[in-house]
């Protein structure tokens, strides 16, 4: 009863603030704006069915699907050792349009490789194709309706004359997962403004919106505004003339403070839930994709806020000033982010053997690697050094991660909450749902192996310590 009373009191206090209504108003505007977004499928059957064909011959998780190149494909096919299955034609059945709802016939050119486990023409190959076609990573992007040897009148067969080649026809239909890979044109305000281009996979568009708009800017605004609102909770409670009313009630001071803390968390949980569930529903209605990964971000943002709110409570109890609590909490947020970024940078330097985009010569890097010039693209840079001795000569490996400064940053990072890790965790959840492994670049899914248990435990201990000190101070101080 007491807990609920304090919870209601906290919510009442938060809702009394005009900032709260500004935040709700912004959320409503964002939701309404999202409802005006249109995703219109463009011609993408060939690309999606080609992607669905990949698992027949290779393991797609080995590939960077965002930047496919023939050499990488060939290496992967040889590694899988199942023979070569290459789509040579994708057609819709009958007069159906090139759309995610249509059925397609995919003609596969199949060629044997030496010592393969199972080669084209062997018994059971049709069944193998049926079981592997469209199984991309965790996703099932196409539903196979039929697999058979290609008829002689298939135009793609007659057009290709290769010795030892065999042809198969796969009749398949894109699934809901397949729709996420399907290129769509993006427009806002019910088509009034359409973004140029031939379309981007729907899942990738949703990922961009959810990761950068919702989990990026949106979460940042929610957390910042919540810090401002909730930083008043404790100092207001401790005001002379107000605190007396509470201290004479039969409730322990530490319990009172903890309930107040939970009240603040409940506030942001409800706010975040409103914004994220609203956006999720709006995006679901407009895109037809109901990926639930984004809903986990509610818990992650709440936990992230719990870290900052414990700081706010600590300074609130210590100083009794909401302004001091807001400023010191924002400062702490900056320190945590900076520590996370710096640690990430040194980790990257260490993992890439001390070679970074900064100490490699940029023009050569881009020209030789031919891939992303992003400083995170350590893999291609290293490949470039191997392939091109000229580049290797111009690179001086850095051992900055061994400096006293780096070691100090590591030490601080070791004991402080891992807010950057939480950010990574959110990205991870969104990627799992919306983007096939490697579709937007390998580094997002695999390059940062994080120990979630350690991250959450360290952050949890930090929260407990700060709250413990706050409770001790509050319980022993005379008011």
């Amino acid at each position: 009863m007491k807990f609920l009373a304090i919870l209601r009191d906290s919510l009442r206090e938060a809702m009394d603030s005009s900032v709260f209504y500004v935040m709700i108003g912004l959320s409503v505007l964002m939701i309404l704006f999202t409802l005006t977004i249109s995703f219109t499928p463009t011609a993408g059957g060939e690309a999606v069915m080609q992607m669905a064909s990949l698992p027949v011959a290779l393991d797609p998780s080995d590939l960077n699907l965002a930047q496919l190149d023939p050499d990488a494909l060939l290496r992967s096919v040889l590694k899988a050792n199942r023979g070569i299955f290459q789509p040579v034609g994708v057609d819709t059945i009958g007069d159906q349009p090139d759309a995610p709802t249509s059925t397609f016939r995919v003609t596969l050119l199949a060629m044997p490789v030496p010592n393969a486990v199972k080669n084209p023409g062997d018994d059971g190959v049709e069944a193998e194709i049926r079981s592997r076609f469209g199984r991309l990573d965790r996703w099932h992007i196409a539903e196979v309706i039929d697999v058979r040897r290609a008829a002689p009148d298939n135009p793609h067969v007659s057009a290709t004359v290769i010795p030892f080649a065999k042809y198969y026809e796969v009749t398949a239909r894109p699934t809901a997962d397949g729709t996420r890979l399907w290129p769509h044109k993006f427009s806002v305000l019910f088509g009034a403004f359409t973004f140029p281009g031939n379309g981007t996979p729907l899942g990738a568009q949703l990922w961009l919106i959810e990761n950068y708009v919702l989990n990026g800017v949106g979460a940042w605004v929610i957390v910042l505004v919540s810090i401002v609102i909730t930083s008043f909770f404790i100092p207001n409670m401790l005001r002379k003339g107000t605190v007396d009313f509470l201290l004479v009630k039969p409730i322990r001071r530490a319990t009172l403070l903890m309930y107040k803390f939970i009240g603040g968390l409940a506030f942001i949980f409800l706010n975040t839930s409103f914004a994220i569930v609203g956006m999720w529903v709006a995006l679901g209605l407009r895109s037809g994709v109901w990926a639930t990964g984004v809903l986990f971000t509610i818990l992650i943002i709440t936990f992230f806020f719990a870290i900052l709110y414990s700081v706010s409570v600590f300074f609130g109890v210590l100083t009794g000033s909401p302004i001091a609590a807001i400023l010191l909490t924002c400062f702490s947020w900056g320190v945590l982010s900076l520590t996370g970024c710096t640690t990430e940078y040194y980790d990257f330097v260490k993992e890439s053997g001390g070679i970074t985009a900064r100490n490699a010569a940029p023009p050569v890097t881009v020209a030789v690697a031919g891939l992303s010039p992003s400083p995170l693209a350590a893999g291609p840079l290293m490949a470039a050094t191997i392939l091109n001795p000229e580049v290797a000569d111009r690179i001086t490996p850095s051992r900055s991660y061994e400096s006293w400064f780096a070691q100090s940053v590591y030490a601080v990072h070791y004991v402080l909450p891992r807010t950057r890790d939480l950010d990574e965790m959110t990205t991870h959840f969104l990627l799992r749902d919306l983007v096939v492994a490697n579709q937007v670049g390998d580094q997002h899914i695999k390059a940062k192996p994080l120990d979630w248990t350690e991250s959450i435990t360290v952050s949890g201990i930090f929260i407990v310590l700060l709250l413990g000190m706050s409770c001790w101070w509050f319980a022993t101080k005379d008011y």
């Binding site: 009373a5 206090e13 003339g241 107000t242 007396d244 009313f245 009630k249």
Partner: protein
């Protein structure tokens, strides 16, 4: 057994001693007044009794238990001085919140809240935001929250502060009603006239020391000092009175102030008047007002300080000293 008892209570803030070994006891059903100048330690004493601050030394017992325990706090009501309510509440929602913290059931709260707000006279505004209340209404709300759970002991720190004269009388009547119902009231007020009217006993604190404690009637009584008036045309037999050992202090209008020395009574004087054929119209044993007692006590505690002048420099808080 005393409802409130402190034994040699000391509270220090660094080098400053706010309470210097205060020992008091208050019995059940008593209305006890605590007097003292600003900074005398009155609020410190109340806070120590309620467990809001921890005493440096000594013991404070409330309802037979150590002061400040949760079980004791459940049985105590408190109106702090200079209180500030969270103004995002309405009067009713605030009482609902405090009632829940006190462990009052939801059903009981919904019954008691309108009742107690009606008692203090703000039921009609119970659903208005507190920020729209006047100072007097806030004070009444403060009293309402102190009474909500029907406590056995009620601590009221300046309960009539900001309340208009009519409201003061209502609050006084309310305290009288509570007293009749058996509640013990610990009152801290600068309005000495009111304290005198309501309280059974008072204590005076001066710079953390307890300098006076006792029943109001005992403390204000002036033994042997009488006010006397004779019928028009009759003259006081001054010589006979002097022979009786009486001292004639002064004459104010038709009233004579007679001081009867210790060991003698006024009865001899009354007989003397009768024998002289004089007609007695008025004879009252004089009492000191609580205000006079307070000033006298404070001056005695710190001779040489002109409190009437000091009072003029503190108009906001010194009204009660006049």
């Amino acid at each position: 057994m005393s409802v409130i008892r402190t034994d040699n209570l000391v509270k220090s803030y660094g080098k400053v001693e706010a309470l210097k070994g205060v020992s008091i006891s208050v019995e059940r059903g008593e209305v006890f007044g605590l007097l003292g100048q600003n900074g005398a330690g009155k609020t410190t004493l109340i806070k120590a009794l309620l467990g809001i601050i921890k005493p440096t030394m000594g013991e404070a017992l409330l309802l037979g238990e150590r002061a400040g325990t949760a079980s004791v706090r459940r049985r105590v009501g408190y109106l702090p001085e200079d209180h500030r309510f969270p103004d995002y509440h309405t009067g009713a929602s605030l009482l609902n919140f405090y009632g829940a913290l006190l462990g009052v059931s939801a059903g009981e709260r919904s019954r008691r809240i309108p009742e107690v707000l009606d008692v203090v006279g703000i039921k009609g505004r119970m659903h208005s935001k507190i920020r729209t209340y006047s100072k007097g209404m806030k004070q009444r709300l403060g009293i309402a929250q102190a009474l909500l759970h029907q406590p056995e002991v009620i601590f009221l720190d300046e309960p009539t502060d900001g309340v208009d004269p009519l409201g003061r009388r209502e609050i006084r009547d309310l305290m009288q009603t509570l007293k009749e119902k058996g509640a013990t009231i610990f009152l801290n007020s600068h309005l000495l006239g009111e304290v005198e009217l309501i309280c059974d006993r008072v204590a005076i604190l001066q710079r953390g020391n307890l300098v006076q404690i006792g029943a109001v009637s005992d403390l204000t009584q002036q033994h042997g000092r009488y006010s006397l008036r004779l019928a028009p045309g009759d003259a006081l037999p001054r010589d006979k009175f002097v022979q009786l050992g009486y001292q004639i202090a002064r004459k104010s209008g038709d009233f004579w102030e007679i001081i009867v020395p210790e060991g003698k009574t006024i009865d001899a004087g009354i007989a003397c008047l009768a024998e002289s054929g004089l007609r007695l119209r008025h004879l009252v044993e004089q009492r000191q007002s609580l205000e006079e007692l307070f000033i006298e006590t404070v001056e005695a505690a710190e001779p040489g300080v002109d409190y009437s002048r000091a009072h003029r420099t503190r108009p906001a808080r010194g009204d009660g000293y006049r």
